[in-house]
Symmetry: C2
Subunit: 490 residues, 2 copies
């Protein structure tokens, strides 16, 4: 290696960061465009905040000099203030709402999408930059505001490409457990947390496992013992009724509320039931089906964060990865009511509710669900170059195609015919336009149908048959160019 | 101030960073969508690289520990590597192309848009985060690749909203001056730079001022003396011919080449003329008018960067700011041929050419040109809330409107009628839907035409006349809701 070569930088993206192109990017852009269209129809305003916020505004503690990047990407501005890249869209919204509260229409509805950054250990499929799409209403304590976010989230997921029955939004209310614990005399926060963590393991452990973890504790197969929450039997019984209501097939939202209303839920729990009933009424008024939105009292998320209703969007369909193995996608988004974020700045409690989903995650889910076909990027028609002297003819042809709305390009390298056909193939071109000396002299054009060529090549195994047939190539009058290309594309 | 209050963070965006919403954001998104559509029709592939690149890949020297943020926002990853936020889209493209060169279709055409970050002193209208939109072809040394970028840039600006005659792309070739200096025996790089800087001041100083700066030097009105480049008279004469050719009204691209070809241009200059002639032929073949793209040998830009053709997109129309003062927008974008960026990584020279424009800058220009009207964001129709008990009726109404494609929302605060009308006004609502007890009982709905109301309010000065007329309010059968709202909106 020469000195010069060893001084060259290595061409690589930073750890945990990825380039996006082709069908992946197309899919993400389509999701964002379609969901935006829905959210604007529901009266939500677009907002883009900067990539940076002051670290104190993000709600992280001021990073200390030794570990300024704990969880976020932070740096010190030249006036010594710490700034950090946003790690979600909610903290910047809280800052924006507090900053502009006087002049905003209230309640303030906004949606936002774009990258967020997390300074975490990267791993396979775990990126440090990814897109999220959020919608929030700030300044309404009405359950109808929660219902609106949920119903709109449903319509957004549908518009993004998920069919009926492929996703469900599960809804609960944080105050259900608060009230249950109050009524059962469970005041120790650690005991409460242990119990909620047990409920969160229902998917993996089933009723029996959760019952043990709510009680004395559980010995798993490996011999490890997990200490239980030691709840009284009455509270465990109520939680089991919660689990059962979530599992009963065909139970309506009102049915779930009936099923859990028997337990001693305390004042907070009764309030939760009342709010959920109002959400149900509003969902019904907006025509949201029992299949699209279910009540599920076992939903436990964002313990430190949410203060009332909580939502979780789950992908239902069984999906397969590229090797045909079953993939459980689980949650593709969520949200809830958080009434304390804006008050961090203003000191005044400001009710807020919102829903967020990961754009790349939804794109992967759609692809795994076999809905990626429309995102296959079809390349442009490629015009082949033979001679400098005939550039005018080639440029005329691509201009004509573009003017007709057909993506088209001229090969602009300096390689020969064979390499140009390979190039057209790599570009995913549906057709190649050939204007050789003969064609130009006779006022004709040759169009190679590369789609047909690819299809037949897959079917024909005998190389001679392939050569004899010359799949999908036709020479037509020059003024038929656009018509023939269109017939191939459509 | 209580202790609690003094511990609250202040709600403010970081210095030099701005929130974007409403018509500004709509305008920028429209530009990006329309330009993307054009670029894809020309066979350019979408690419999004991460926000971060390794500092060495960005082409900045590794920042030293004391000033890691010189010009870029940089931080050290936990494996001690320096990363920086991209300051343009070209350096990440060079990294991407070098990293994937083996598998890319070559030449590789891509477009990109998104934020770039500059760690510079912020000021009025000078932001540290802004959107750029770029298109580049990597791997073609053909002048037709430059011509394609220029022609496509024209079509992009047109699609974004600039009418014919509102912008011009000026094109030159860096090698023109190289050859002129070679032929004139000007070998001193400082002398060359001084001369080019003088040419760059033509707009401000005119022919006379530039001639002085090319020669012995110039004394300005304030008494400051600027040292000249001391070029020989023959070279100054040639440069004056350059200036004259750029100023001659109606001179075609070929005419400009004729006008400058008389000078002693050396081998490099002759090569420049040959390349420009090929670009002209290709532009003509693609139907690009002499008004949209002009040759202007005085274009001097990116001295350290560009190696051949250079482009500059200039806004022509006289625009006014919000106070009616004339604003010279000048350059709204530019680009050129840069053959050395990819070779930084690979050691192999890789020809490339591209065009870039500032999205916010173009949006401001369009607005100043009076083309912002279509971006005025019209708010949703607002349904007024009177009673909890009638929520179902309100929700029905907004659901109906949305299903008909009309943006609509329910007021979800807890304020009275008057505040709700003010809210509707702040939202820019075209109409308010009123379903009071009377309307519901009689199967009717009242629709307030807020657009008409605003218009008449502007005309009516007498407060009593205003009240008597009750502008733009009508009560109709409930099933006429969508039809009446449509008649107001359309």
């Amino acid at each position: 290696m020469t000195d010069e070569a060893s001084n060259r930088p290595e061409a690589r993206a930073p750890r945990g960061f990825a380039d996006r192109r082709g069908r992946d990017l197309t899919a993400e852009r389509r999701i964002v465009a379609r969901v935006s269209e829905v959210y604007e129809r529901w009266g939500f305003e677009a907002l883009e905040t900067p990539a940076f916020e002051y670290a104190d505004a993000l709600g992280k503690f001021l990073p200390d000099a030794d570990r300024p990047n704990e969880g976020v990407f932070a740096l010190q501005d030249d006036d010594d203030q710490w700034m950090a890249l946003r790690y979600d869209h909610t903290a910047p919204l809280a800052r924006f709402a507090a900053q502009n509260w006087e002049t905003l229409p209230k309640p303030f509805r906004r949606y936002a999408y774009g990258p967020v950054w997390r300074n975490e250990k990267p791993g396979p499929g775990r990126f440090r930059e990814f897109w999220q799409c959020d919608a929030d209403t700030v300044g309404s304590d009405r359950p109808e505001a929660d219902a609106e976010i949920i119903a709109m989230g449903c319509e957004g997921l549908r518009a993004a490409g998920l069919a009926a029955g492929q996703a469900v939004i599960r809804v609960s209310n944080r105050k259900l457990f608060d009230g249950l614990f109050d009524a059962g005399g469970i005041t120790d926060p650690v005991q409460r947390l242990t119990a909620l963590r047990a409920v969160d393991k229902y998917d993996r452990l089933g009723v029996e496992g959760v019952r043990l973890l709510l009680g004395e504790g559980r010995l798993d197969e490996s011999g490890d013992y997990t200490k239980g929450a030691n709840l009284p039997a009455s509270v465990i019984g109520a939680i089991e009724a919660f689990l059962a209501s979530a599992e009963t097939p065909g139970l309506s939202r009102a049915g779930v509320l009936d099923a859990v209303s028997g337990a001693a839920l305390g004042a907070a729990g009764e309030e939760a039931l009342k709010e959920l009933a109002a959400i149900d009424r509003a969902l019904n008024a907006m025509g949201v089906s029992q299949d699209d939105v279910r009540f599920d009292p076992t939903i436990v998320r964002g313990l430190e964060y949410y203060t009332g209703a909580v939502f979780e969007a789950e992908l239902l369909l069984d999906t397969k990865d590229e090797k045909g193995r079953a993939v459980r996608f689980g949650s593709i988004g969520g949200g809830g009511r958080y009434d304390d974020l804006v008050s961090r700045f203003t000191g005044q409690s400001t009710p807020a509710t919102g829903f967020s989903f990961g754009v790349s995650r939804l794109a992967s889910a759609l692809r795994a669900a076999g809905r990626g076909a429309e995102d296959e990027t079809r390349g442009p028609v490629v015009a082949i170059v033979f001679s400098e002297d005939d550039m005018q003819h080639y440029l005329d042809a691509v201009s004509e195609l573009r003017a007709a709305g057909v993506p088209a390009e001229l090969y602009l390298g300096r390689a020969g015919m064979k390499a140009q056909m390979k190039y057209a193939d790599r570009r995913g071109a549906p057709a190649a336009v050939i204007l050789g000396g003969d064609e130009i002299a006779t006022g004709q054009v040759t169009i190679k149908d590369l789609d047909a060529g690819r299809a037949r090549a897959a079917a024909i195994t005998d190389n001679n048959a392939w050569k004899a047939e010359r799949p999908g190539q036709q020479t037509v009058a020059r003024d038929q160019l656009v018509a023939v290309v269109r017939s191939i594309i459509e």
